[in-house]
Amino acid sequence: MAEITFVESLRMTLKEEMERDPSLMLIGEDIGRYGGIFGVTKGLLEEFGPQRVRSAPISESAIIGSALGAAMTGIRTVAELMYIDFTPVAMDQIVNQAAKMCYMSGGKAKVPMVIRTQEGGGRGNAAQHSQCLEALFLHIPGLKIVMPSTPYDARGLLKTAIRDDNPVMFIEHKLLYASKGSIPEGEYLIPFGQADIKRKGKDVTIVAISYMVIVALRAAARLAEEGIEAEVIDLRTLVPMDFEAILKSVRNTNRVVIVHEGCRRGGIGAEIAAQIQEEAFDALDAPVERVGALNVPIPYSEPLENAVIPDEEDIVKAVKKVLYRS
């Protein structure tokens, strides 16, 4: 078991998959010589050459659209969008083209493509470089959505994503890149639709994704000091979603807090909360609580950004609220 960073985990996985599938291609901005703005693709151009590691002009629509065209004609492709904030620049190719191609063609089109991107605030990058937009894609049928929180999960999920024959949004988080974790030697794949219980607990269920899993675990540790045992569920994939895992936990704890960094209004917490009350109405001892960003763009200044993005404290408060201890 080696300790490696999230970035290293991604890089190693891309490399292995490129070795495994000689047609697999990467496309994105500055992913060649520069190795990507976060260093994920470092060394891959040198190893696999410029046809398989295509460093593209700043043309997000063409990047996604051409990844789609390549995928449809048999070239498995991983496209990188530097920030999820740039997905709107390529939104038509994601939402109207890639997501719908298989369905519109009556199941004929095969679209083996991954869109790797990263999201999140916390670094003073302001409104156009800090968003969490996974909820937009949750609403669009035809996309799978993956949001790993550890180097281990990133590796197993990226393998599954690459080998999937459908468009997958693979959403990383900028604050996770430097985080470290253990990775076993051999190959492993993590199937989509399998949540991971990152901490066991009986008093309350915390459902979280991406970097918020880490924050939720910190909150859970603090709560434990006060004798509150929180179960932390890492969804890992939003589509497909392991709703069974949530229900099972909720039936045990009778209380739920959903945590995501994206804007609370219309965020993924809304869908999950709505579903929980539909499926486990009688199991609930308190309303499902949602923790998410305030309803504004992400501001630049530190005290403002901190006020907008949810933190440990917000999670602790929400847990106490559902336990009627606030």
Partner: protein, 324 residues
Amino acid sequence: MTSRIDNKRCLKMYKQMLTIRRFEEKAIELFEHNLIRGNIHPCIGQEAVSVGACTPLRRDDFMVNTHRGHGNCIAKGADLKRMMAELFGKSTGYCKGKGGSMHIADFEGGNLGANGIVGGGLPIAAGAGIGIQNRGTDQVAVCFFGDGATNQGTFHESLNLAALWKLPVIFVCENNLYGLSTPVREAVSADHISDRAMAYGIPGMSIDGNDIIAVHTKMVEAVERARAGEGPTLLDCITYRFFGHFTGDPGKGITYRSKEEMGQWLERCPIKRFRERLIKEKRITEKMAKTMEANVTASIEEAVQFAKESPLPLPEEALQDLFH
């Protein structure tokens, strides 16, 4: 000069043009009888572009299509029965009824599908070009789009990418002088759409799109260039849609096009012109033309029959095919 094209090919081209024309006329009729829903964007008048551009292609070459795409499907070798069934929304259609007129795809025939988003197909075609390049085959991809689409950002991004990477893509503009109601001169700031090729350092030319031989000739050159790894070409094929924008366009587009203009273009009908030429060159007789016409009509009737008799999809099929 058709002389360099052999007889068989000429007759095949003529027959395809005729097939497209009759298919579209029938589709409009069926639409008016509520047997086809949604909208149809007929390509009547543009047959020379479809057939001229697709004839030089092989079956394993790729094609990316537009909303006005029935002609291109037929020219790329689609089966009329499955096309018509798709328009009827039947299970036997190319997309099992899920796509309809604007989304007919035929992957076995290299037809990657049409697009309801103006300009949406250009990046996909560039991607097909990448695929070809990475596999190292000598296939090409042809991308159809309208004059209106040349004002979309995707046009720019895709031509730039294709030029940079010398992708084997031929960009064929079906320049029918209007994007919906908007005349090309009110929407495209360049004098000629082919001028836009200069922004990418690639060859671009404007052609009489109602002269199938002209289209065919330039396309042969562009395809050769692409197969040889020399990169993309932009062909601006000037043509005219006789019918109007779509089945809902009042008076076949009379609200934005003058009668005179429409009349002049009818005179330049690509099918009529090609037939006259074939007759003049003694490649076809009136009698042959009549037989051919009858065959075409029969094949379309057969397609309609097939579509009519095919089953509608069951409601529960709506949940299928989301993922592969």
